[in-house]
């Protein structure tokens, strides 16, 4: 039982923090937002730092690291509310590495690690909401491969990505495929999200696809759990910075002749924000460290973590806006953008009520970190 970061992990954190500070200030972010919420040049910079290959083993050209390093990196990107979806590289490389054939791994992992290919998870369907087992997308055998017909929504950077990891029904059972965006039968419609990142609806019309695994639901659950751990880490980074912005503001904003940081009613809100942040950080560690646990234990843990993060992110975001007063609801102030990111993260990979239901259904007689 040890929650200290190694020297290497600490160095990684500092390298990413330095990149955010130097290369991704709020002005650059908002320029990117104006031009659509995604900049491949930024993604390439992250790749040059080696970050796209964190989950990929060295055998396939990656860093051979794991969930803890991914968490460290995403905390720092969350702190800078970076819109480019590095988490997708973690999600898709993790699922390909764990469930893909040698051939699939050989073809995709080196490209994900180098940043040459941005591969994203395209699982969201209108009728499924958060239920991963509900899937209308259909796959059929086609020559040596498969053909997919599907409509997936809110796919991260969906009109910019190079390929998608797509769940679809094959012979009545969920399977997981890879589809290239440039392939025949693929069309996309891109848009900004509320938190100003890029997303798209992705339509597949008999699009050629490569099989990752026929054990699709198991693999998809794993991919989404990796995604939840990523959301938790980004959320912690974003909340950390939100609290910092809030306390900095409270210590300089004067009303009635004194800084508003002197008012006890406001100080207690800050204490409550700190509480929510630290509970969330604790549960983000928990989520990350449980990713390698057996499936039932892992899924219970990740759902518990997502409920905590969801509640914490909403609370910290809302309180921050309130404590800022009028400036907190303006577009020009960075704080309002953190609030929107925190809101979006709550609804990503299952919202709070969905995961509360999961925890509720999975409850056993005993409960704790180790049960």
């Amino acid at each position: 039982m040890d929650f200290d970061f190694s020297d290497d992990q600490q160095a990684l954190r500092e390298a990413v923090a330095k990149w955010v500070e130097k290369s991704y200030d709020f002005e650059r972010r908002q320029q990117i937002v104006k031009s659509g919420g995604f900049d491949r040049a930024v993604y390439n910079e992250l790749a040059e730092l080696g970050l796209t290959g964190i989950y990929v083993s060295e055998e396939y050209g990656g860093m051979g690291m794991g969930p803890v390093e991914a968490m460290v990196v995403l905390e720092e990107l969350g702190r800078g509310i970076v819109t480019e979806p590095l988490a997708q590289a973690f999600v898709t490389s993790a699922v390909i590495q764990t469930y893909g054939s040698d051939e699939v791994k050989q073809q995709w992992l080196p490209k994900i690690a180098s940043g040459e290919a941005l591969v994203v998870l395209a699982q969201q369907e209108r009728k499924a909401r958060h239920q991963l087992g509900v899937c209308e997308a259909k796959a059929a055998k086609s020559g040596d491969g498969y053909a997919l017909t599907a409509l997936k929504n809110i796919v991260p950077a969906g009109d910019q990505a190079d390929a998608f990891v797509v769940p679809a029904m094959l012979d009545g059972k969920l399977a997981l495929f890879i589809v290239e965006r440039a392939a025949k039968g693929v069309s996309t419609r891109g848009y900004l999200t509320q938190a100003e990142s890029r997303a798209a609806d992705v339509k597949l019309d008999n699009a050629p696809a490569q099989l990752i695994t026929t054990d699709g639901l198991t693999a998809l659950n794993f991919a989404v759990d990796v995604g939840i751990a990523c959301v938790c880490a980004e959320g912690v980074g974003a909340m950390d910075q939100t609290l910092k912005l809030t306390t900095d503001y409270m210590n300089q904003r004067k009303q009635f002749g004194v800084t508003i940081a002197t008012f006890q009613a406001l100080r207690h809100r800050v204490a409550d924000m700190k509480m929510q942040l630290e509970l969330a950080r604790s549960m983000s560690y928990y989520a990350t460290l449980k990713l390698g646990a057996p499936e039932a234990e892992r899924r219970q843990a990740l759902s518990r973590a997502k409920v905590q993060l969801g509640n914490s992110m909403r609370f910290v975001g809302q309180q921050s806006v309130q404590l800022h007063g009028g400036i907190g609801v303006t577009d020009e102030y960075a704080g309002s953008h953190y609030f929107k990111v925190l809101t979006q993260l709550e609804m990503t990979y299952g919202d709070t009520l969905h995961h509360l239901g999961e925890v509720s259904q999975r409850m056993t007689e005993t409960a704790g970190v180790f049960a």
């Binding site: 039982m1 040890d2 929650f3 200290d4 970061f5 190694s6 992990q9 803890v68 609290l243 306390t247 409270m250 210590n251 940081a261 006890q264 100080r267 207690h268 800050v270 204490a271 409550d272 924000m273 700190k274 509480m275 630290e278 509970l279 604790s282 549960m283 560690y285 928990y286 990350t288 460290l289 449980k290 518990r304 409920v307 905590q308 509360l356 239901g357 925890v359 509720s360 409850m363 007689e365 005993t366 409960a367 704790g368 970190v369 180790f370």
Partner: protein, 402 residues
């Protein structure tokens, strides 16, 4: 980063588990699992069993006869005791005053007082709060005037937990009115059998006597009972309060009570009611998050990293969780928590016995409901004592805002 305990730590846990299984009297653990009344004898019996094993002062360093355990070992020990249904160790002696005597007492005081604390023979009480000094502890007015080789103590302490059993009492007393309120306070040990000490029990809203007023009327206390220097008591008290707060999170007991809540909810037929069950799930998430917070503090202690900025959160969250599980237990029983059956608070009482006597037994299988509402009422104390949660928020805000 690693969530798992080391093989050595797990082996240690198993040893404790085996020992507790054999050493803890079933009659006592049954009461704890049912939240029934514990007598002074129950508490003393368990304290002496621990004392004999050398574990009542389980947090003590080896040089004072303690086991010299690491922070993680102490946590595992607390967990095994809690899960087995051991009574809480009455903290005033071994957890509160002993560390102060070790840190600031002289050798004679250590030799005189520590053995009786370690063995569980001597019952200690805490003399901090006064009618005018609750959260504002530095305003204490109980006066100790030095006359020759004695202090003459006059004043009143209140909320003295289990003071009706107390033999010795550690007190904050005012020895000077000069300077800031904090600077005139001394830390004095008082023999409660001294002439002029009187104890008045205070009945609480749950019908139980848990706390007391303690009056001092010209009580003579030898100067050798002063700990450290005169007027430095505030420093020593702060040392003590920092011990009290980490203890107060009590996450292991929360885990045990969460299990009990689930049993009660099942017996009362609300476990499968989604609305109720979600409330249990939320509590379960809270308990896991608190446990992670505690483990982070332990990890930081283990590696020597500063953990102070989150330790203050433990009291707030721990106490809120304690209130929530007592609340949900009562709500699970609903109207069947309402009958006030005094004798049901005691061990040996069973609904079916009452039924045999021609009275209506409590429904709910082997889960007695009589203690649920009293526990809920009683636990309102947790956000008030040990520095109210509002004071705790001031402290947390200070670390964040400056």
């Amino acid at each position: 980063m690693d969530l798992a305990f080391t093989p050595e730590e797990l082996k240690f846990r198993d040893e404790i588990r085996d020992w507790v299984k054999g050493a803890l009297p079933k009659a006592i653990s049954d009461k704890v699992h049912q939240a029934q009344r514990l007598t002074r004898d129950d508490m003393q019996t368990w304290a002496k069993i621990l004392g004999k094993k050398g574990w009542l002062g389980y947090g003590w360093p080896a040089q004072f006869g303690g086991p010299g355990w690491t922070a993680v070992q102490k946590h595992l020990f607390e967990e095994e005791l809690a899960m087995a249904g051991a009574p809480r160790i009455v903290p005033f002696g071994p957890v509160m005053v002993a560390p102060v005597i070790m840190a600031y007492g002289n050798k004679e005081q250590q030799e005189r007082f520590l053995p009786g604390i370690a063995s569980g023979e001597v019952w200690w009480s805490q003399g901090y709060s006064e009618p005018g000094s609750g959260s504002d502890l530095a305003s204490v007015r109980t006066k100790a005037e030095k006359k020759g080789d004695k202090y003459i103590v006059n004043g009143q302490k209140t909320w003295t937990t289990l003071g009706q059993y107390g033999e010795w009492m550690f007190n904050l007393v005012r020895t000077s009115n000069e300077g800031k309120p904090q600077t005139g306070i001394s830390f004095l040990l008082i023999d409660m059998k001294s002439p002029g000490v009187s104890v008045r029990p205070i009945k609480l809203l749950d019908g139980e006597v848990e706390v007391n007023d303690v009056f001092f009327d010209n009580v003579e206390v030898p100067v050798e009972n002063l700990i450290g220097e005169e007027n430095k008591g505030w420093t020593y008290a702060k040392h003590l309060l920092s011990h009290e707060r980490t203890n107060i999170a009590d996450v292991n007991r929360a885990k045990r009570e969460l299990e009990r809540l689930k049993r009660i909810a099942k017996a009362e037929g609300v476990y499968d009611d989604q609305r109720f069950r979600d409330q249990i799930a939320l509590l379960e998430i809270d308990v896991v998050a608190l446990e992670m917070l505690v483990l982070r503090v332990l990890s930081a202690e283990k590696s020597g990293k500063n953990s102070l900025d989150i330790a203050g959160l433990l009291k707030i969250k721990g106490s809120e969780i304690q209130q929530r599980y007592t609340e949900l237990m009562m709500l699970a029983a609903g109207p069947y928590s309402l009958p006030f059956i005094e004798e049901a608070m005691n061990a040996g009482w069973q609904g079916d016995q009452a039924a045999a006597a021609g009275l209506q037994g409590f429904p709910g299988g082997d889960v007695a409901n009589a203690t649920l509402a009293p526990s809920y009422f009683n636990y309102r104390k947790t956000t008030i004592y040990g520095g109210s949660n509002e004071v705790q928020r001031n402290i947390v805000a200070q670390t964040v805002l400056g």
